[in-house]
Amino acid sequence: MSEKMNNKSFENGEYLFGMMSFAKDEFIEEMLSDEQAEEIRAANLRSGITAEQGGAAETTEKPAKYSPGRIKIALTACAAVFAVIIGLNVVSGLGKLNGDSTAKDGSAKNTVTATEDNTDGTAAAAEKAEETEEAEQDDAAPAEKGEATYGRDDIKTKGILPQQDDAAAENNGDTHLAEQELRGTSDTLVIRADNGTSYCLLDAVSVSHKGEKITSYEYYSNSQDAERSVLDIYRFDDFEPDTFAMIKTIDGGYRLMVKYDLEPETVDDIYSGFRFEELLNCDSWEFDGNITETTTEDFRRDFMDVLFANPAEMTAIDSYKNSSDRKTIFHCWLGKDDERYIDVDITLYESGRLCIEMAGMKYYFMADDPGNVFD
């Protein structure tokens, strides 16, 4: 017990420990139940297996139903991953992640496909179909319609054929073809920590399925902070409804930041829904608890704390780089209660294919140059 703990605190803790005896019988029984333990352990290990051995394995537990929020998340996540891919190309364009902001042309292309999970997902599928229809309409000629382009990072992403995994291809008779035109910014920020580790923050919010720039953001320079002589980092504006950002480490790891509006009481509720699995060996993702939904400055600060105040995480990320046929980037769940939980599996294959599975849908993305994904 640490010395800082005084007698009073000790007594307070002891008091609460004693009060735990007032827990209801049902909670005690639940805690003692071997069946419950097995169930939870199996679920956790399933996540762990996914994390370590590849998330494309079929998930046995599908969301029972799709709330509008879930669909919204799925679609936003899709947009997020689109942006990630866009960002990856930019990362590639940036070469060695050296922070050079030299303009790149927008010639990089990604293949983007979405396949519908055959077991469920009707609502999401319908939503997807609508989007496809819209996307096809938008395909006509964005330039002719006077849509703005977005400078150096303007990247055209076109979906073509479904990249089904074998099992899905066999079982999914009505595979949904998604053909979409994406256009948006892929502003990418390279972050270099004092220890030499670099991070690339990809803004995954500023594109939507239809290509509008749906928001703007600022970034903050932190160069005057001597202790963190690093970086610039984005501030997340009050994006509504959702904010996604993917952070790619130079070592091939990823981190996802998600903020979404399924009526969380506080931002802390949102983050409590995160679980970063061991694939990154960075499960010490910790926020100080001082974040409020409106204090983006706090958010920014804590975000930075996470990145740079925990060297162990960085070291661990280094070790992640290994070889396997496929790599699941991570598995996480979002939400604060069972009803709102949503599982997200993101798998990055050696081939360069990226799969994000959520809400019963699998979205596949293919970078033109697979090497870019890892290097």
Binding site: M1, S2, K4, M5, N7, K8, S9, F10, E11, N12, G13, E14, Y15, L16, F17, G18, M19, M20, S21, F22, A23, K24, D25, E26, F27, I28, E29, E30, M31, L32, Q36, A37, I40, R41, A42, A43, N44, L45, G48, D268, Y271, S272, R275, F276, E277, E278, D283, S284, W285, E286, G289, D337, D338, Y341
Partner: protein, 187 residues
């Protein structure tokens, strides 16, 4: 092993076989709980014996709905009493999560508020996802080390540590919202 209902029936029959069967079914659990709290095997054994005696003396007339909860609560309380007797003024209990829980309250509520605290506790627990509730209970009801919980449920200790931190904050918030305690300790 006997079903709990049969076990309780033995107590009602005043059959001493009840103690044997209880020890067979719940002895290990009771000893584990007690050892964690009192930190000494001999003391724990004494607590477990006292637990059996108390169960014997209270059933009947009591007929617990959940025998496992009933006996675990008894052994826990007896062990805490033993712990307090043995460790008064010593502030031992390094293996117990007192410090963690102390984050939740700045001041100990009056005993008159125990009922309100218990109500807040159960409300808090009922609002948690099942797995988080179980983690919380194992840590703060059983006093189980994080590493053991993590191993049992197949997660990493670090992940569990983060989860527990957030759970404590939620618990603190619940206690504050209930109006029975002020804000928790600031580190």
């Amino acid at each position: 092993m006997l079903e709990d209902s049969s076990l309780i029936a033995l107590y009602f029959e005043r059959s001493q076989q009840a103690i044997t069967e209880t020890d067979l079914k719940y002895g290990k659990m009771c000893r584990t709980i007690s050892v964690r709290i009192v930190g000494d095997r001999r003391d724990a054994e004494e607590c477990v014996s006292d637990t059996y005696l108390k169960v014997w003396n209270t059933i009947p007339p009591e007929r617990p709905n959940s025998f496992s909860a009933y006996i675990s609560r008894i052994v826990r309380n007896l062990s805490l009493d033993c712990y307090r007797r043995k460790n008064a003024q010593k502030r031992q209990g390094e293996d117990l999560p007192f410090e963690e829980l102390s984050e939740c309250i700045a001041e100990r509520p009056d005993d008159s508020q125990n009922e309100a605290v218990a109500e807040a506790l159960n409300e808090f627990l009922s609002e948690l996802p099942k797995e988080q509730r179980i983690y919380f209970m194992r840590r703060y009801y059983l006093g189980e080390p994080l590493s053991d919980i993590a191993e049992r449920y197949g997660i990493s200790s670090n992940t569990l540590g983060v989860t527990m931190h957030r759970l404590r904050k939620k618990f603190a918030k619940k206690l504050i919202e209930s109006g029975i305690v002020s804000e928790g300790r600031k580190d």
